[in-house]
Symmetry: C2
Subunit: 215 residues, 2 copies
């Protein structure tokens, strides 16, 4: 089986935004409340972050979250997912939002026009790469050693890879909250239906899972 590029657990507001406006060190999601956006995932037994408390739900949402790392060998993310800085890197001591144990456990390719040395935290190595989506994907696939590559977001990067027709599957969780502005993934999920099959699955938790795979 060929290596896929997969979007997993990408969460957007009901009006299509993956993050709010005004990203900062204190507010990674700008005016969006991550506690609200990601409550559906945090409540599961397999949240895609490190969590101290064990336990959690094992229903539909957990099927979704436990697929996050399955057969993933690398991640690609945009610079704004890595951090709020813009322009040349001023401070190499800041190493992302995730502390000493990032939840990726694979090589991560951060797309940026500004060079920065790779570094490793626990079992995650961050590489900072310039290039078009196809070139970055080729690097990530090589690093993934036969496994799939996760496209981690944010919304802007996902749109770039969709435009280049490089995405094979997408899972987007739509929360029943409007943001009004921010980083937009889509005006409507219908935009993807020319190229993708879609399942729309309402979850008992209140989110609606949109599952897309290539026609």
């Amino acid at each position: 089986m060929s290596q896929l590029l997969r979007v997993q657990n990408f969460t957007v507001s009901s009006d299509g935004f993956g993050a709010g406006e005004g990203q900062s060190l204190e507010k990674p999601f700008g005016h969006a409340d991550p506690g609200n956006m990601f409550a559906w995932a945090i409540a599961t037994d397999h949240p895609p972050i490190n969590r101290s408390e064990p336990g959690g739900s094992r229903g539909l949402d957990d099927y979704i979250t436990r697929d996050y790392a399955r057969n993933i060998g690398a991640e690609i993310m945009g610079r704004n997912k890595f951090g709020p800085q813009r322009g040349p890197w001023q401070d190499h001591e800041w190493q992302g939002w995730w502390g000493d144990e990032p939840p990726f456990h694979t090589p991560v390719f951060v797309m940026t026009h500004h060079k920065r040395p790779s570094f490793t935290l626990s079992d995650t190595t961050f590489h900072f790469v310039d290039g078009d989506p196809a070139a970055v994907l080729a690097q990530a696939k090589e690093a993934a050693q036969g496994q799939d590559v996760r496209l981690g977001g944010g919304a802007t990067i996902i749109r770039q890879f969709l435009k280049a027709d490089l995405v094979d599957t997408l899972h987007v969780a739509v929360v029943p909250t409007k943001l009004g502005s921010g980083a937009r993934l889509w005006e409507s999920p219908d935009e993807l239906l020319d190229r993708f099959h879609q399942d729309v699955v309402p979850s008992p938790s209140g989110v609606t899972h949109h599952l897309f795979w290539r026609k």
Copy 2:
């Protein structure tokens, strides 16, 4: 995390039967049509059987089917899942329904009062064990080496393990077809609600997934 006992992809009719009446070598599911019962799983990209053609859907049903083997280190099945024979084994040459490449890829513990030597086909080894559910589960957990154990069915075995309160999670797919008689899993899924949380998830394919996990 402790080892779980999981029911995965167990498919029943809308009136609660996992198989029809009149099981035979020619009709593993008796008067039930397996092509109808399992169409939802066969159509996915990760069906829990060996399939020659690649491809398949990657929506909700595929999230379910690709969970079938995740972190599974052993299976327990009833004798009627292994074969239609009753009483002492007459023919050791018959080695189950699955041909030279059984889809289990782990040790499999077949519950029977009638002794039979273990044998291996490809990466699946079948053991024939007598004992109560707790004793068989202990054997299977040891063989699973820290991974979970799948309870493969049929309905009678699942009911036995439920009665002994040994099941941790269940996924049951309900197909919109009545069988009228056969091996019954339940009169109603509500029977499990005293001990389990439940998500009920209708799939675009027409089946309804019932996901249970311990309270």
